[in-house]
């Protein structure tokens, strides 16, 4: 089950967020590298567009890395072991593999959904 009743402390919540943002950033870097490799294969008239794309992905990667650093820093400064209910928030995550990974990281049951398993959307209930 994804996104049922599930509790986590605040530090772990920021920690899980930080890893997911870091993963998203790593995927952007991968995409950035891929587009870079394609640059030499496209017609000169399309290169400028591709370079704009590389710059946008690079900015997105830095954006995500910055947010990940922020969340990681918060996870280390939050001291109170206060528990929050994360299951409700997880229900709003419609990317199946993401919701499944986060559920597992919070200690919930994993459904084994991978990124390639579907187009991304998942009916949670």
């Amino acid at each position: 089950m994804i996104g049922g009743e599930l509790r986590s402390d605040v530090a772990t919540t920021f920690d899980v967020l930080s890893w997911e943002l870091e993963l998203a950033g790593a995927r952007c870097i991968f995409l950035d590298t891929l587009i870079g490799k394609l640059l030499g294969t496209v017609a000169p008239e399309h290169r400028e567009q591709l370079i704009e794309g590389i710059q946008a992905v690079d900015l997105l990667s830095q954006h995500l890395t910055g947010l990940s650093t922020f969340a990681r820093s918060l996870s280390q400064t939050v001291g109170a072991p206060e528990q929050i209910e994360v299951g409700g928030a997880l229900r709003s995550v419609t990317l199946g593999a993401l919701a499944d990974r986060m559920t597992s990281s919070f200690g919930g049951d994993e459904a084994g959904i991978n990124d390639g398993d579907d187009a991304g959307d998942l009916d949670l209930f």
Binding site: L23, I29, T65, R72
Partner: protein
């Protein structure tokens, strides 16, 4: 910047899928051949079959304790992996010492960034530098009673 020997195998053993995939992408992009295992037994099997230069082992790996994994690797005379980098959220002095006795070369406290880990792996693969001055080697920083210090990385 570290020069990476192309195809150097790095095995990452972590039960957290986000951490595993993120590190795999980061290491691959850095030029390594990243391998992934989600459990202790899987890590052991992959270490035997693939003989990685470095095993990045999470202290909280499932199905088998990280210490059991290390002990099994230590007992194996065929030496299936080069160095061990132990990572974890709750790495205190006791865990570091116990790991060191089981062949751990370096430790990193979670959370860390992918860039941090790639940098650490690069340093571990560098040829050995001249002998350090006395007292500059095994210097684990004790974790405070609350949350551990985020920067307490240790080279052993």
């Amino acid at each position: 910047m570290n020069m990476v020997q192309p195809g150097t195998r790095i095995l990452v053993a972590d039960s957290d899928r986000a951490v595993l995939e993120m590190l795999q992408i980061r290491l691959d992009l850095a030029g390594y051949h990243a391998l992934a295992a989600r459990s202790g037994p899987a890590a052991l099997e992959m270490a035997h079959n693939m003989r990685p230069a470095i095993l990045v082992l999470d202290l909280a790996i499932t199905e088998m304790s990280a210490f059991d994994v290390m002990a099994a690797l230590q007992r194996d005379v065929s030496r299936p992996c080069g160095q061990i980098l132990l990572v974890g959220k709750r790495l205190g002095v006791d865990e570091v010492k116990r790991g060191a006795a089981l062949g751990v070369r370096a430790c990193m406290l979670k959370p860390f960034s992918g860039a941090d880990l790639v940098e650490r792996v690069g340093k571990m693969l560098k040829p050995a530098s001249p002998a350090p001055s006395p007292g500059a080697g095994f210097t684990p920083r004790p974790a405070p009673a609350g949350r551990p210090s985020p920067s307490s990385d240790v080279f052993i």
